[in-house]
């Protein structure tokens, strides 16, 4: 089975979409086929991937409809640079989906159902979720094999991350997830070492997570080049290939690559 990686966080602006887009590019560049699935009604993956706004029936919302026939609406990303990365775009229609999920008899499991009925061919699927822990993150949780938690090194995001872990255990049990998704790790984001509270939180985050046996990846530094790159719909690696932040993603990509090789060989 493909690796299905859900990016979850319990606070806005924690860098989910940025991480999702960059991982999609880097894993594609490493030779894996990738599908980036945007479960956020804001559809920010489209912006950061340089795609035009999708037609409402060409989005993940259409996949979650009962009349879905298996024709996944995939759009190539950065096709000049990589050949094997596609996006399943999200948009405002997902707001309606949220309400439908609540009433649907398979609501919490719908994404997993679609993927087992009509599997995507890619090696890895990346689910980008909205910030609020509602029905959409829940379908990502029940469909994923692994979780990655981006966390901004600020009080609000740290608080949210603690609650996210509670949410994770509560819902893994409630939804009877078997096997349970694995937490791949936390990714500290937008880290600025000149800011005291950032240093402070980062320093206490790692021991805190290790108590819970959760891995803490190397922090991804803050840089306004991320914003500049996203305005052009590019990952920073295509916009400023020599920027020091490019290397910050390496440990995560290495970890996922290991998983992918393991799952291919087994």
């Amino acid at each position: 089975m493909a690796i299905r990686l859900a990016l979850l966080s319990n606070a806005g602006g924690s860098g989910k979409t940025t991480l999702a887009v960059h991982l999609a590019y880097l894993l594609g560049n490493a030779g894996f086929s990738v599908a980036l699935v945007d479960l956020d009604p804001q559809g920010s993956c489209s912006l950061m991937g340089g795609l035009p706004r999708p037609h409402p029936d060409q989005t993940i919302a259409a996949v979650l409809q009962d009349d879905f026939q298996g024709n996944w609406p995939t759009t190539p990303l950065w096709s000049d640079e990589v050949k094997n990365v596609v996006a399943v775009q999200g948009e405002m229609g997902l707001v309606k989906t949220i309400n439908e999920l609540v009433l649907h008899e398979r609501g919490a499991y719908l994404l997993g159902d679609r993927l087992s009925d009509y599997p995507l061919p890619q090696d890895i699927l990346i689910f980008d979720c909205p910030a609020t822990l509602g029905p959409l993150p829940l379908i990502a949780l029940s469909a994923c094999t692994h979780l990655l938690v981006p966390i901004q090194v600020e009080p609000k995001s740290a608080d949210g991350a603690g609650k996210l872990i509670e949410w994770f255990y509560h819902n893994s049990r409630r939804l009877r997830l078997k096997p349970e998704p694995q937490i791949l790790g936390f990714v500290p984001n937008q880290y600025d070492k000149t800011i005291a509270i950032h240093r402070n939180i980062l320093a206490s985050l790692e021991p805190q997570l290790s108590k819970l046996s959760i891995h803490c990846f190397q922090a991804i530094r803050f840089s306004s080049e991320f914003k500049n790159a996203s305005a052009l719909g590019l990952p920073i690696h295509l916009y400023r290939p020599l920027h020091p932040a490019c290397k910050d993603f390496t440990p995560i990509v290495t970890k996922i690559t290991q998983l992918l090789k393991k799952s291919k060989s087994s």
């Binding site: 609000k156 005291a196 939180i201 805190q208 819970l212």
Partner: protein, 375 residues
Amino acid sequence: MSKKPQIDLSNLFSGAEYSQEVHALETKITELQAEIEQLRSVGSQQVETKVQELRSTLTSGGVIDISVEQIDPNPDQPRQTFSPESINGMMVSLASDGQQEPIILIEQPDGRYLLFDGERRWRAALQLQWGTIKAVIIPCPEALHRRVLLANLHRENLNPLDMAEALIKEIAQTSNLNEQDIPRILRTAVRRLERQGKTNQISEIVVVSPESQQEVLAELELNSSEKSVLSVLLSLQLNPASINTNIFPMLGLAADLKQAMRTQGLGGIQAIAVQRCNAKALGIKEAEAKKVRAKLVKRILQEKLSVAKTRALVSSEISSYQKEQAKGSTPSRATSMIRQVQEIAIDNMEQQELEALKVALASKLHEIESMLSPQ
């Protein structure tokens, strides 16, 4: 020199730790239970080792005496026949050596227990007319959540706001009351008990058995909602009067103060004191009042002010604003009229009503204008 920004992550993550612990324990118990059922169904000899493992996992939760009357045999027990000889043998052993191993029970939502392991010991205990039998308990999921809550409640650094929210959730779950009604229900009950001079009877039963608590509660004139709120609190060994005074008021705090408690470690009683600095008391806009509160919170934290000093600081802040207000104050009759006009709730009004109101206000405005500048 101002204090460096500090944040106590271990506090923010304590809930996460508890949920992970409970989850791990529950997973282990469920796995062992399933394995044992499986081994039993194939009649394997390994059952005993697994049962032993389950028993020792559960023993960490404590061995307790359970009334034999509260135990039901398991209808799924594969071994349905127990020969009188084997029961007799067990009776002899229990009578001479006592109970060596606790039996394993599954807790039921109705408060009774289902036998998982130890039917022979239980039947023998019944025949020996023992009142209770030593047991370890496989908790039902509800009880596990309660255990998390309990562990959390008696944690030193739990802030009163988190405690209030956890309690409200627990009460709402067990009683089907609306979350927002619970503080009011408790307040009404506590005030009535105070008037009747019966608060002592409540504080005396905080640490007695649930049965005795129920007996006392039954004698007080409480309606059913009040009774369920009080019994949840008492069953958690909390004094309802103190929850009413010290804990539930946290729920009414302004959002900025809740935030300060959670992320900066502002004390609950300090937060309540600062809450007095609201827009109305200071005679300024809410956004301004928020700034005043932020300034106060910063000072309280930096100087680690005691409750008494915090209260004094807040009072002097309020009186300084009130003096200013008095200086530039509008004549009193107009003030109350202005307030009435400002407070007209127009959110839910019909179009027609709004039109009528507009006409009335416009005509009054016209009158005022003509009074101010007579032609």
